[in-house]
Symmetry: C2
Subunit: 132 residues, 2 copies
DNA sequence: CACGAAGCTTACGTTAACGTAAACTAGACC
DNA sequence: GGTCTAGTTTACGTTAACGTAAGCTTCGTG
């Protein structure tokens, strides 16, 4: 079996706390194997955690992320389930693309605002530290 | 004065509840004018709300958004304050750009996963409703 | 004038996503 | 054998972002 990480190594690696990892496990987003009592995180769990963190940064709820995570263990599922999983993925992809559009226009807007702001600053070159 | 919207018009327009708008006001993200008791939302508040909703969809906290919103009333601020506001905006822009990168690679990853998933489905054209 | 619709304030409730503390265990090292 | 370190379970606490309900005002209309 491949290399595994302990919980503290995981925390180090991804900047999360043990509590967070156990919480995700409780919510069935992760399912590390056990060495006695201790959790060991395989490559699969690492991949899943990466997705979780991505998802979070884009404002998805853990529950939404969980559904998508099924794409990560395309094991011996039934066809029906496989198709359903695929559909979830497609929908998520559409959402991501929409977010991309929105993000791009947000960036454009902000750039414009900053330009205006820059002008404003430059047209006030008088160093009046106007104590109000 | 320009056109203003009532609270229910705002809710209709942006798909939020009155409670949400009052909450944002309480947190000083919005500050509608008053007609007696009633709130009236000007163009400025509308612009701000748009930003708030954008920000939320990208996973920013209200408090982070609030800072950025100062870019929206570049009124008669002191230069120091103006520069600070500008800096906040620049930082936010960087964050957005980073998110854009992450988003793009997430999209790529997901597309790949979906391709794999599609193959898997196609290589199983046997309609075995394998009851486990 | 009654009253219904729209809005208001005040305040307690709820959910997601963890934080934090207490008390236990199991292997490592002196 | 003691104790240090890393890890565990259990359970209550916390924060953000609203939901929800109660009771009051104001305005237009029959």
């Amino acid at each position: 079996m491949g290399k595994t990480l302990t919980i503290s190594q995981m925390c180090e690696e991804f900047g999360v706390t043990p509590r967070t990892l156990r919480f995700y496990e409780d919510k069935e987003l992760l399912s590390p194997i056990r060495d006695g009592q201790k959790r060991l995180y395989t490559k699969r769990e690492i991949g899943r955690l990466k997705w979780i963190l991505h998802g979070k940064r884009f404002g998805f709820a853990l529950e939404e992320i969980r559904e998508l995570l099924e794409l990560y263990y395309l094991g011996d599922q039934q066809e029906t389930q496989l198709r359903r999983t695929y559909e979830v993925g497609v929908k998520h992809l559409e959402t991501l693309r929409a977010k991309k559009e929105e993000l791009n226009s947000s960036i454009d807007d902000l750039e414009e605002l900053l330009a205006t702001c820059r002008e404003l600053i430059e047209t006030l070159p008088n160093k009046q530290t106007a104590a109000e």
